[in-house]
């Protein structure tokens, strides 16, 4: 009451002070106090996943508009975060999250939190076993099946398995044991695969209730001992493109219930290899199916620099395997991701910073830099 009286007096005072023209309309009393976002999400929106390495119990996801550079909002996503997963209708966000009952101690609880993309509010929560992997963020830690029905989450305790979550009933279905094999890459409406320590793949088929009905283990699909591939592939249809430490592209194609290795091809000439050119970073590959282009973060360095950032993006024609463009980045980059529309943007995380750069992939022009995006951004997720 006292506050109300003071407020009324203040309003009178302000209105009496005006000299010419209409006074500004009051914000207080307006019906809108919280912003909301258009639905479905824009094709040029990007979700920047930040596991906040200096204080990992406070993971965040930053939603940006790549066209305007505007910061749209944030998700708080708990401890040791990896990344959000977006279904194709764009209305929801799935977020595998870890919490401790006393912040940094107490009972660990793992959940999949469901957010509405227009309000960024929590609209559901699904309990899962407290086993989700805690690692450097990588896309294979969780994916949705190709029809968005089942969410697949990689567990590492260090026993390896995959938690299957039914998004329709919003319930945990069960675990699929995947001994010796990491990740949960969706490969169809009712299938996923893992990558195994011996460079083989483990293909898993699910039934309509999300339970495993078949597991198929391939032979080694690349040279895991001498030139392993980085964890993060890019996909077009039934083909996943991996890049090896020494810079060879390994296309792995789903064939029936299993996987086969297509002929590998080099990113570099012999002279470029002698000069030390190799791929590096975290999300070091990007792809655009419509353009038929593969983008690779490149730098010069020795074998042990396979995680180093690069200031050059080499662009390849997927049909001819030829390098058709070189983008000289304004800053060293660790992660890149292309939007999926036919007028794509190429998003990039700048190393040693919390800056997101936006490039026009066809011209290589830096369109804008978006600053102060979290603490240690690592993976970019775009609208499917």
């Amino acid at each position: 009451m006292i506050v109300g009286t003071a407020l009324a007096a203040a309003v009178l005072s302000v209105s009496g002070a005006g000299k010419a023209g209409a006074a500004l309309p009051p914000d207080v009393g307006a019906t809108k106090t919280v912003e909301s976002l258009p639905s479905p999400p824009g094709k040029h929106w990007l979700w920047v996943n930040d596991f906040v390495f200096p204080h990992m119990t406070d993971g965040t996801v930053h939603l940006l508009d790549g066209d305007s550079g505007k910061y749209l909002g944030l998700l708080s996503v708990g401890s040791s975060f990896s990344h959000v997963i977006l279904p194709r209708d764009g209305k929801l966000v799935y977020s595998p999250e870890i919490y401790f009952s006393r912040g940094t101690r107490g009972t660990r609880t793992d959940v999949v939190t469901i957010y509405d993309t227009s309000t960024l509010k929590v609209v559901g929560e699904i309990g899962i076993p407290p086993k989700r992997v805690s690692s450097v963020p990588t896309s294979g830690n969780a994916e949705l099946t190709d029809d968005d029905r089942f969410l697949l989450i990689y567990n590492f305790t260090p026993a390896q398995s995959v938690s299957v979550v039914d998004t329709m009933s919003r319930s945990f279905v069960g675990e699929v044991e995947t001994p010796g094999c990491a990740f949960a890459f969706a490969s169809g409406p009712r299938s996923f695969f893992g990558m195994c320590a011996d460079a083989s793949f483990l293909a898993v088929d699910l039934d309509d209730s999300g339970h495993a009905v078949r597991q198929t283990r391939t032979d080694a699909l690349f040279d895991g001992a001498h030139d392993p591939v980085a964890e993060h592939p890019v996909r077009i249809g039934n083909t996943w493109y991996y890049v090896s430490f020494d810079g060879r592209i390994h296309p792995i194609r789903k064939s029936g219930a299993s996987f086969v290795a297509e002929p590998a091809w080099p990113l570099t000439t012999a002279a470029e290899r002698r000069a030390g050119w190799r791929p590096g970073g975290v999300q070091q590959l990007a792809i655009h199916a419509g353009l038929g282009r593969l983008y690779v973060i490149m730098h010069q360095g020795g074998r042990e620099t396979h995680k180093d950032p690069g200031k050059s993006i080499w662009v390849y024609d997927l049909a001819s395997h030829r390098r058709v463009q070189t983008i000289s980045a304004a800053h060293p980059l660790v992660s890149i991701k292309a939007s999926t529309d036919d007028q794509p943007l190429l998003f990039a995380i700048v190393a040693e910073s919390n800056v997101i750069d936006v490039y026009a992939p066809t011209t290589g022009k830096l369109l804008r830099s978006i600053k102060d995006v979290g603490t240690t951004p690592s993976l970019i997720v775009t609208t499917p």
């Binding site: 040791s80 660990r108 260090p158 396979h306």
Partner: protein, 178 residues
């Protein structure tokens, strides 16, 4: 993001690798019960690790270098905050934290005596990240699907004995490599 600036100043190869980092290695192996095709991987139990005979950790000609520096020889495959900068040492955890029971072991060359040593990078757990002296070096590091040699796993998580947050990483001598 001033912490990043500090980061860059204080750590030798600092970040970049910010992204790749976080890690802590792995060890595994025998724990994959029932994994017929799985190669057995090295497992180190930190509580059992002992300094090599006659070696004095942390300084002197037998163990040269600064344990709080990223280029210290034992850090050849580390990925995390150095416990020596966080109230512990390269072999012990800071007060109030708990050492991970299992971790990855790497092999590093000691320029002091010319020998290779097996190093166990046990994480210290139970408080939020220390945030000091970040260091990531990747000698012989492998991808996450080869966990026995990958420095990108968090060993404070998962293990039933220490399913708690990551704080910092040690670099403990297990013994001379043969």
């Amino acid at each position: 993001m001033k912490w990043l600036d500090r980061f860059t100043e204080e750590s030798v190869r600092a970040v970049a690798r910010r992204s790749s980092r976080r890690s802590l290695l792995a060890g595994i192996g025998a724990l994959f019960v029932g994994a017929a095709a799985l190669p057995l991987l090295p497992v180190a139990r930190g509580a059992e690790a002992k300094p090599a005979p006659g070696k004095k950790p942390g300084g002197g000609t037998a163990d040269p270098g600064d344990p709080s520096a990223c280029d210290y020889w034992r850090h050849c495959a580390i990925d995390g905050f150095l416990c020596g900068c966080c109230g512990g040492t390269q072999a012990t955890c800071p007060p109030g934290t708990e050492m991970s029971a299992i971790t990855w072991i790497g092999t590093c060359h000691n320029p002091g005596d010319g020998k290779d040593y097996v190093i166990s990078y046990n994480d210290c757990c139970g408080k939020t990240s220390c945030g000091r002296c970040f260091c990531n070096r990747n000698e012989r590091d492998t991808p996450l699907y080869q966990p026995g040699q990958s420095n990108d796993y968090n060993w404070c998580a998962g293990s039933s004995q220490s399913n708690i947050p990551y704080h910092c990483s040690t670099a403990r001598i297990v013994g001379a490599a043969e």
